[in-house]
């Protein structure tokens, strides 16, 4: 029996969660997203200040909600990278104080590996190997996960913008609020409901790195900056001509371009690497069209698809506690009390 508390502060969400033997007891999250909205993106110092204020109340909320006392904890896990230095620092310092005060082991874990591990809370142990597509505001990576507690190999990543970042930038261009992903998702769904599936190909936006030499050189990488420019040009041309911009059609066509590339590359990687399970995680995994298209393409290729419920896709403490719980169960060595933060922590390092 082991009870693990996980802390996540790599970006703008203060997450604290409790996992007992692979079962999620509670996932408490405080977000400063509203404070960043008017800046159109996360302001690191604003996020760090919010983490400090939210830390003790969120720990208390998690414990109270699960009916657990801090003294019952067996281990502490915390995101030690990658992410914003100032934000990570608050979480790591808090986790160390807990570990020190309670005399329990501390595990500094990789944020990306935690995005993968979280799915065990919803769907049980991960098949080994599993292919993981992580798509969020800060990352777009394709990972070969042989053992999430020790061996993760990056196969591909974005060579420019992350998928979520592309959603957020295009949303801004279209005058939709921040964060833009859910708004584009909704606008696209409404367009399809009103005008049929054809609206997804109403505008032919480019699919980066999917053909010829680009595909050879960047087999599993993705790129969204060309797409972003192409959407911006399209919008500007309409505006210059004094025409109304058909926001739902742009949203649907843009979204289709993103999820088409992501699912194509993920399925390609599974087939070429002989992996029969695909896991999608990160905030963009909440995208309804990404889920639907992935399901369709995986079924066609005999690949099992795993996607955690949306609340577990975005940043939260549950993912960290989940990975901590797996590390404890696997008997991995804890981190030192001198643990630091690593804003550029490579995904090959599952823990530090």
């Amino acid at each position: 029996m082991s009870l693990v508390l996980g802390i996540e502060t790599s970006c703008d969400e203060t997450g604290v969660a409790l996992v007992r033997d692979g079962r999620l007891l509670i996932d408490a999250v405080a977000s400063s997203v509203d404070e960043h909205a008017r800046f159109g993106g996360v302001v690191p110092e604003v996020a760090s200040r919010a983490h400090l204020e939210a830390m003790v109340p969120t720990i208390e909320r998690a414990c109270a909600g699960a009916g657990v006392r801090l003294a019952d904890l067996d281990a502490i896990a915390v995101t030690s990278g990658p992410g914003l230095v100032g934000a990570l620092t608050v979480g790591v310092a808090a986790a160390k104080a807990l570990a020190l005060g309670l005399g329990v082991p501390l595990f500094g874990v990789n944020h990306l590996a935690a995005h993968v591990a979280v799915d065990t809370l919803d769907h049980g142990p991960l098949p080994e190997p599993t292919m993981a597509l992580l798509v969020s505001g800060g990352h777009s990576s394709l990972l070969l996960v042989e053992d999430v507690t020790s061996t993760v190999t990056p196969l591909g990543r974005t060579i420019d913008d992350a998928a979520g970042e592309a959603f957020d930038k295009i949303a801004r261009l279209l005058g939709l609020p921040f964060p833009g992903g859910p708004h584009i998702d909704r606008a696209a769904a409404e367009a399809v409901a009103e005008r049929g599936e054809g609206v997804r190909s109403a505008i032919a936006f480019p699919r980066g790195l999917t053909s010829g030499r680009d595909l050879e050189r960047h087999r599993y990488d993705v790129s969204f900056s060309g797409l972003k420019t192409s959407v911006a040009r399209w919008v500007e041309r309409r505006e210059d001509a004094g025409e109304r911009v058909d926001v739902p059609a742009v949203a649907a066509s843009f979204q289709e371009a993103v999820v088409d590339v992501l699912t194509r590359k993920a399925v390609l990687a599974c087939r070429e690497q002989g992996v029969d399970t695909l896991l999608i995680g990160g905030g963009v995994a909440a995208n309804s069209r990404l889920r639907a298209l992935a399901l369709e393409r995986c079924a066609d290729s005999g690949i099992r698809l795993r996607v955690p419920r949306p609340a577990l896709c975005t940043d939260n403490g549950a993912m960290v506690a989940a990975l901590g719980s797996l590390l404890v169960a696997a008997g991995r060595a804890p981190s030192e009390l001198g643990l630091g933060v690593d804003s550029a922590m490579p995904v090959t390092a599952v823990r530090s």
Binding site: F39, G40, S48, R49, M55, A93, A94, A97, A232, V341
Partner: protein
């Protein structure tokens, strides 16, 4: 028996002390430009070992709340708050410049008449302590000496050294004995603020944080952790954040 654990990460030193009443059991300090988060927890463990005490004997936690560079400052504050929560003990925030002022006053008492500059610390005199605020500015606060704790009379603030010097002169504080300037900030800008006297303390130490906090606990009595009374960092500056401007064209 009581055990007060004090930490300060507001400046160039990460410093930890353990005190029992008026007696300082152990104090450590390392000079660090960054990476406070790595060193604080191991130093707390080491100080407790040196003091011969266990973490669960801690009866109160004190923390220097700055002003100071934000990321380092938060390490101390969040550590203190969470330790207070875990151990179920009160957490007392102390302005780090108050602690440095206490060190300066104690130094003045100890070396009165001998060290150059210490004479300026006779009772009733005013002096300014400073620390490095980076970006060519200093954090500062002004105090009046008395018996025991220096009394804060102005600040804390953050200003360019030249502005601090001219404000002090303009307010006529200099004539009443405002100054000399003490602390790291004065040492960094001696041509503007006058160099601190030889041997005077430059950086806050956790021992001084412990002494101030210990007296404040004794004064207020009680040991209930009062909600909403958690130590709050003295940032003094707003976050750097710019609202995005108009969209840039791509064509």
């Amino acid at each position: 028996m009581s055990l007060l654990l004090a930490v300060d990460t507001s400046g160039a030193l990460v410093t930890v002390a353990a005190a029992d009443g008026d007696s300082l059991l152990a104090e450590q300090a390392v000079e660090l430009a960054a990476r406070h988060a790595e060193h604080l927890a191991p130093m707390i463990a080491a100080v407790l070992v040196e003091a011969g005490r266990a973490i669960d004997e801690v009866s109160a936690v004190a923390v220097g709340v700055g002003p100071g560079p934000f990321t380092g400052l938060r390490v101390g504050v969040v550590t203190a708050r969470v330790l207070g929560l875990v151990l179920g003990v009160p957490v007392i925030g102390v302005c780090s410049l108050d602690a440095l002022a206490l060190q300066v006053a104690e130094w003045g008492e100890g070396s009165a008449g001998s060290a150059a500059g210490a004479g300026d610390l006779a009772a009733g005199r005013e002096f300014v302590v400073t620390s490095d605020a980076r970006r060519r500015e200093v954090y500062w606060a002004a105090y009046r000496t008395g018996d025991g704790e220096p009394e804060p009379v102005r600040g804390p603030g953050v200003d360019r050294p030249a502005d601090l010097a001219s404000a002090a002169a303009r307010d006529g504080l200099g004539q009443k004995g405002f100054g000399p300037f003490f602390g790291r900030g004065a040492a960094l800008y001696p041509e503007v603020l006058t160099a601190p006297p030889e041997g005077a303390p430059l950086d806050v130490r956790a021992g001084a944080v412990a002494r101030l906090a210990g007296r404040r606990v004794a004064r207020v009595g009680g040991s209930e952790r009062a909600r909403g009374q958690e130590p709050v960092p003295l940032y003094l500056r707003r976050p750097d954040a710019v609202a995005p401007g108009a969209r840039k064209r791509v064509s």
